[in-house]
Symmetry: C2
């Protein structure tokens, strides 16, 4: 299998974390998004929307991280990352969709302003941060509440946790980790998931902290 | 089963279409989003982000339409809406994610300006339409290309088609149906899917045309 991606990309990290959980080594083909390689025709033939990552598996080509991680979990051995029970599986699907609908959009707006803008020598746009912050807080508050009765978003550790983790790490890198640590159950969840060997392996790929 | 929703809501329609495919009648509890009922505490206890729909099944409560339709397809009999093959299943997941990531956001921006604003006596904001339109066109172009080799997005009729259909119908209602009919394979797909008895039943629930 080949993964086309960028080690600092949140969506690439979801795929790499699943591969690490599965103890499966795919060939990693770096696409430098800072140089715009994801908008080159050769890459656009793999991903028509020009973002990372893409998976290629013996001629089968797939994009969208949330589809790729489901495919990998179905195909590869190792830790099972989809709950067996119908209701827990549905909760996993719900939390993956919550990440996509309510969390990662505003979280990335904060992260771009508070982490990537200063890293490139610029200044954060405080208007964008002020607009995004309450939406991030709401998503984290809802997750915190769900985690009062479960150790993981879908009961057991699953793809749902993996879809949230890259954004949470970048919130810490953006120096707004208090949004997480101020919430008791969410904070305990972060300690649990970020200590997993898979996540430590992926975190080492790039310095985001 | 109970569905809390609004007949004109695109996400409610995804759930109702799956129920119609399954020939299963759930109790429908209308939430009038024009009156803000989705932001009332009684409803927020069911959906913490205050949008429709929500499914309740014998004490199990689930939100996010894309999670609900997967749950219904897994639980109920009738037409199977998830491909059996691993690669076609992955394509279904990809197209559901493409709808969520690239299509429905800008499509709804156009629909709000071109359909709902005039319906409420207002005028469309042409700047918003001009910004959204090329993104909608790109998503439709990518779908059209995929449909050159398949009758449906994931090979056979699936949840993926159902997630796209409500937005496509509203593009017609917004008088930009040429975005669809100008694309040969997409147009043929729309003729196929919109003629299904399930979709006709759901279309009748509200006048969007």
């Amino acid at each position: 299998m080949k993964v086309y991606g960028y080690p600092l990309s949140t969506c690439t990290r979801k795929v790499l974390t699943v591969l690490a959980e599965k103890k499966y080594t795919a060939e990693f083909i770096p696409i430098d998004i800072l140089k715009g390689e994801q908008k080159q025709p050769s890459y656009l033939s793999r991903h028509p929307f020009g973002v990372v990552p893409v998976l290629e598996d013996n001629g089968f080509s797939l994009y969208e991280s949330r589809a790729i991680i489901r495919y990998l979990d179905d195909k590869l051995g190792g830790t099972k990352l989809t709950p067996q029970g119908r209701e827990d599986k549905a909760r996993m699907d719900q939390w993956i969709s919550v990440e996509q609908s309510y969390f990662s959009g505003p979280a990335l707006q904060m992260i771009k302003q508070l982490y990537f803008a200063p890293a490139a020598g610029g200044k954060p746009d405080t208007t964008i941060v002020a607009e995004a912050r309450p939406r991030v807080e709401r998503a984290l508050e809802v997750a915190d509440k769900a985690l009062t009765t479960h150790d993981y978003l879908a009961g057991t550790f699953s793809l749902a946790d993996i879809t949230w983790m890259p954004y949470v790490e970048y919130l810490f890198a953006s120096k707004v980790g208090d949004l997480v640590t101020n919430r008791k159950y969410l904070s305990a969840w972060w300690n649990r998931v970020s200590e997993r060997p898979s996540w430590r392996e992926v975190s080492r790929l790039g310095t985001s902290k």
